[in-house]
């Protein structure tokens, strides 16, 4: 905002003069300047001087330094100093009361495996996402050890700068082969995988359709992409179609713009917050109908769903090439660290230069990559029989896992029978989230005392887009026996009866 506030009236004045000349003399436009000059010469001297001064004034204004309005605060240095002295920032972080319920984490002594020691009490683990029990596998440990002997622990560099190890390439190849896709890319942190992958493709101005129940890392990825985000109701394909139709109408209004706006649907295979499966076949139909790409986050379903553990695509028998990008972490079923994306080379290869968490972060420690390779070996060795499904189908009738918790008074079970991580929510909320959490925490504590390790599902209350209701998350793994299951269900029932009354 630059201003020559004096210049304007003078210019107006001049324009007026010119108009008057034109009216009086009725001359053509191109003769005007000459005419003006001629008239000037015949004008009286005082007039010439006056106009000369005016012209000089205009020239001065034209060449004088421009200034910003904002800087015209006319504050003296002293006043500025006083303002600086006066300004008091908020504290860096608000004070947290010492007895905040979440402040003291449960401490696990020793390995977080099937038998886990929480706060000094030995329990059966119903809380870690160690679905396939590979965390305790001796084979995985041995492979990790031999890798440690060869490569040491850290990689001391990002993938580009001598941080690519032969095991990384092997793991990528193995993952691609396992998922039957053209290419896979690994990240050194599960959370960063989808959070980096989304902004690598979706930029400012693009549109992303997201399920309301999408997990936190998806939300962060969307935020980093600065795209236009449209939320549809959880697993509600009609709502999604409504949004897609709206967009179609919008596109028809401005077809030129529509040709460059990329569109994506981002869904989770198995929702961590809602414990149910996305209707993938319908999504694929919508994809081709409205020409939208699908990104699928499979952290919970990888290694769990499908005959071989390939996830939701295998579960529904959807062609994996119809999904543009699949991402999953290697921290749950594979019980290592890190995450991966897989899909067609056309899509995945782009991340090698554009995935921020890939390019600018140290690569995955080779021993963790080796551990993941061995975990994949174990998964593949049982052909046609994913260990997780096998166990679910044959040993544990789903009624036991599911029904066992369902019959608990005062608690409702959220999730589908196939899911390995169920949510137990309060049937009747007390009306306040803190109190609800306290009640649920009491159930967790009660179970901990009786050798059942459970955990509350934790959320960032203020950051979450749609905050799920408070719940206890129960994770079912292959290592739990029927008796342990029954015991857990029994224990939770007792706790509920006692605490919820």
């Amino acid at each position: 905002m630059y201003f020559h506030y004096c210049g304007i009236p003078i210019l107006i004045f001049f324009c007026e003069r010119v108009k008057i000349y034109r009216r009086n003399n009725a001359i053509s436009h191109n003769k005007l300047l000459f005419q003006c000059f001629y008239n000037r010469c015949s004008a009286p001297a005082y007039h010439l001087i006056l106009e000369g001064i005016l012209i000089l004034w205009i020239i001065r204004l034209l060449f004088s330094k421009t200034y910003k309005l904002q800087e015209r605060s006319d504050l003296t240095e002293k006043e500025k100093e006083e303002l600086i002295e006066e300004w008091q920032p908020e504290p860096l972080v608000p004070l947290v009361s010492k007895d905040h319920p979440s402040l003291s984490y449960d401490v696990v002594t020793g390995p977080p495996s099937h038998r886990i020691i929480v706060n000094g009490k030995e329990c059966i683990n119903f809380a870690s996402f160690n679905f396939l029990g590979l965390l305790d596998s001796e084979r995985v440990k041995l492979k990790a050890l031999s890798s440690l002997k060869k490569y040491g622990v850290g990689t001391c560099g990002p993938r580009g700068f001598y941080g690519t190890f032969d095991v990384h390439l092997e793991l990528e190849e193995r993952l691609a082969k396992f998922m039957r896709t053209e290419e896979a890319i690994i990240y050194s942190y599960g959370f960063a995988t989808i959070a980096s992958a989304i902004p690598a493709y979706s930029k400012r101005g693009d549109i992303v359709f997201v399920d309301e129940a999408a997990c936190f890392s998806i939300q962060k990825g969307l935020q980093a992409s600065r795209s236009f985000v449209k939320y549809f109701k959880h697993n509600d394909m009609e709502d999604l179609e409504r949004l897609l139709k709206e967009q179609e109408i919008e596109d028809q209004k401005n077809p030129r713009k529509a040709r460059v706006i990329r569109r994506f649907i981002v869904v989770e295979g198995l929702y961590i917050n809602a414990a149910d499966i996305c209707p993938l076949p319908e999504l694929v139909k919508l994809k081709y109908k409205y020409k939208v790409r699908i990104f699928l986050e499979e952290s919970m379903s990888f290694g769990v769903l499908g005959e071989h553990g390939r996830g939701v695509t295998e579960h529904f028998g959807v062609n994996i090439d119809d999904i543009d990008l699949i991402s999953a972490n290697m921290e749950n079923a594979l019980a290592s660290i890190g995450g991966f994306c897989c899909g067609r080379s056309f899509v995945i290869d782009h991340q090698r230069l554009s995935g921020q968490g890939y390019c600018f972060s140290a690569s995955l420690p080779p021993m963790l990559a080796s551990a993941a390779i061995e975990a994949l070996n174990i998964m593949e060795e049982d052909p046609g029989n994913n260990i997780y499904i096998h166990k679910n189908k044959c040993i544990l009738p789903s009624s036991l896992i599911y029904g066992g918790f369902c019959r608990t008074p005062g608690l409702k079970t959220v999730g589908e029978p196939l899911t390995p991580a169920l949510h137990l929510q309060l049937e009747n909320s007390t009306g306040s989230r803190t109190n609800d959490l306290k009640l649920l925490r009491a159930i967790v504590d009660y179970s901990l005392d009786r050798q059942i390790a459970l955990t509350l599902a934790r959320y960032l209350d203020k950051e979450e887009r749609f905050l799920p209701p408070p719940s206890i998350r129960v994770v079912v793994t292959v290592e739990q026996t029927q008796e342990e299951m029954e015991k857990a269900a029994q224990c939770i029932r007792e706790a509920a009866v006692k605490i919820l009354k």
Partner: protein, 563 residues
């Protein structure tokens, strides 16, 4: 200590000011109340930053960024021009199918979708990066220590695809890994402890810190880190990048102002963006510019609403990994105190690599860690592990325990990695009962000084601080990026070369990371090779007095330091 020096400076400044007051007493107008002399910033011909406020620095602070010779700059631009013209020509040939296109194509079924990439987005990748792609992502198959083994690759189609021949390039001298203290090892106490831990714990955790992934090992690590840094409390995270990008949003939000150095790492930039605060960028390590921004921010408040800022957070790094410069921490702290801003210090490269006790840039300047509000760093580099930490006051860490994104939503750190950090950190602190850590620190600083001095003497343009183990050597021209990397590998030395977009377009460079694990022979071998390649590629651009003995030249300081 710091307070002393800071107040000294303030007092000095105050005295100076009263003098000015008297002079300007006539109208009572005080001209300069800034801590650091304000002058209009322009890139000086020779940026040889001798410490401007000698009171703040205990030793000479020499940082040089020799100006790009004009001819070189012109030729560099021409180089890019030629590459671009050829790029268009090649694209044209590809379009008309005269040249085979190796790029992966969109599926037939999805040809009518909105294109996933805009064509020009990949122009640079396709036509410039692809020519020299073999210099990056070189696969290694050994410990990334002082020497490493590389997997030999050949390309049948000019870098579009690579094939592994099955041969191994043995004992390549590693000048690329961030292995400052040489803890990337597969034998020794660290590796043994990590193995033991693997046997006991396994490698994964499969849960988050707040749920059920809070192991005793993590607690042990956090206590140790707090002690190492000299802060009240600390918290460790599984990934260095995510430590920045997921914790800055917990610290500041809407109505806050972030002042960020222009050369900050992507993770800091991403964290700042995710936080939703207003971001303003100051010139690299330029304290006058930072002070001006601080003053303006406080005086003018938020744009449009003119409400005062809720808080101001300064984001800086200890060592800048592409420039090799060291943060002017004493000045930043003085500014931060005067203007009541908060300081977020990212010590990704400096922790372990700087300071007589290896405690990073705070230790290097002999300052008090409590003057830095948020001490952040990574375990990837000096500790030979992975992950990051945040240290600070207890209230800060308590708050992060509840609100950090990664404590709630990300899997916690792998136990063997945790163990590696604990053991290596104890070694640096001398708590393992040996002087091994101290020896490594001395070795690193000796190696750095030697390496930098020799390169300088050879006549290369070297950026950065004399004490920084990150040594960028300027290449400038795009063609020399590839040539340097390949020629060095021919001589069995692995180096990192970087060009646009990691650096400004004409300032392509090679970067060496000196390690304590490098012996004098290795360094000499590397230096000889660099000199040879430098002659071959005509890289000895420096026009400075090479064997100079000018009064305040850096060498006088270096020599006295060596004595």
């Amino acid at each position: 200590m710091t307070q002393n020096s800071a107040s000294k400076l303030l007092n000095g400044d105050a005295l100076h000011r009263t003098k000015q007051d008297k002079k300007a007493g006539g109208n009572g107008f005080v001209k300069n109340r800034c801590l650091f002399q304000q002058k209009r910033y322009r890139r000086p011909a020779e940026k040889n930053h001798h410490a401007s406020c000698t009171l703040l620095y205990k030793k000479t602070f020499v940082e040089s960024f020799e100006e790009t010779p004009l001819l070189v700059a012109v030729l560099t631009y021409m180089g890019y021009g030629i590459l671009t013209i050829f790029g268009y020509l090649r694209d044209f040939l590809r379009d008309w199918k005269f040249e085979k296109c190796h790029l992966a194509r969109e599926r037939e079924e999805q040809k009518d979708f909105v294109p996933l990439y805009q064509d020009f987005e990949n122009f640079y990748t396709r036509n410039l990066y692809m020519r020299i792609r073999d210099n990056w992502n070189r696969p290694i198959c050994s410990v990334p220590g002082a020497k490493m083994d590389l997997v030999e690759r050949v390309t049948p189609d000019y870098n579009w695809t690579f094939e592994h021949t099955g041969n191994v390039l043995k004992d390549v001298i590693n000048m690329g890994s961030y292995n400052y203290l040489g803890f990337a090892e597969n034998t020794g106490t660290c590796a043994d402890a990590a193995s033991e831990c693997t046997v006991k714990y396994g490698v994964g955790v499969s849960s988050t810190r707040q749920e059920i992934g809070n192991l005793d090992k993590h607690k042990e690590l956090e206590k140790l880190v707090a002690r190492f840094l000299g802060v009240e409390s600390s918290m460790a995270f599984g990934m260095g990048f995510a430590t920045n990008s997921m914790n800055i949003p917990a610290l500041t939000g809407k109505g806050g102002l972030i002042l960020s150095d222009e050369l900050n790492h992507v993770s800091l930039v991403l964290g700042a963006r995710l936080s939703g605060s207003t971001i303003r960028v100051f010139k690299h390590n330029n304290m006058q510019n930072l002070e001006k921004l601080l003053r303006d921010a406080i005086v003018h408040g938020q744009p449009r609403t003119h409400r005062p800022w809720k808080k101001i957070l300064i984001l800086v790094e200890g060592i800048y990994s592409m420039e090799g410069s060291i943060l002017r921490l004493p000045e930043v702290i003085a500014l931060k105190k005067k203007y009541k801003a908060y300081l977020y210090l990212d010590e990704a490269h400096s922790i372990g690599a700087l300071g007589p006790r290896g405690r990073g840039v705070v230790d290097y300047f002999g300052l008090d860690p409590s003057d830095v509000d948020i001490m952040m760093g990574t375990f990837t580099k000096s500790f030979g592990a992975a992950g990051g930490y945040i240290g600070g006051k207890k209230e800060l860490i308590d708050y992060l325990c509840l609100h950090s994104h990664s404590a709630v939503h990300a899997t916690s750190m792998s136990p063997p990695i945790t163990q590696q950090i604990i053991t290596s950190m104890k070694c640096i602190m001398g708590e393992d009962g040996t002087t091994l850590g101290q020896e490594r620190l001395c070795q690193l600083s000796e190696n750095t000084t030697y390496f930098r001095r020799r390169l300088h003497e050879m006549g290369f343009i070297i950026y950065g601080n004399n004490d920084s183990p990150v040594v960028p050597l300027m290449l400038y021209m795009p063609a020399k990026i590839g040539a340097f990397g390949r020629e060095m590998l021919k001589r069995n030395i692995g180096t990192v070369v970087v060009g646009f977009p990691a650096t400004p377009i004409i300032e392509s460079r090679a970067r060496f990371c000196v390690s304590a694990a490098h012996t004098r022979e290795m360094l000499d071998k590397a230096l000889n090779a660099i000199s040879e390649v430098g002659d071959l590629l005509q890289l000895k651009y420096s026009r400075k007095n090479r064997h100079g003995s000018e009064g305040t030249d850096c060498f006088s300081f270096l020599e006295s330091h060596q004595d």
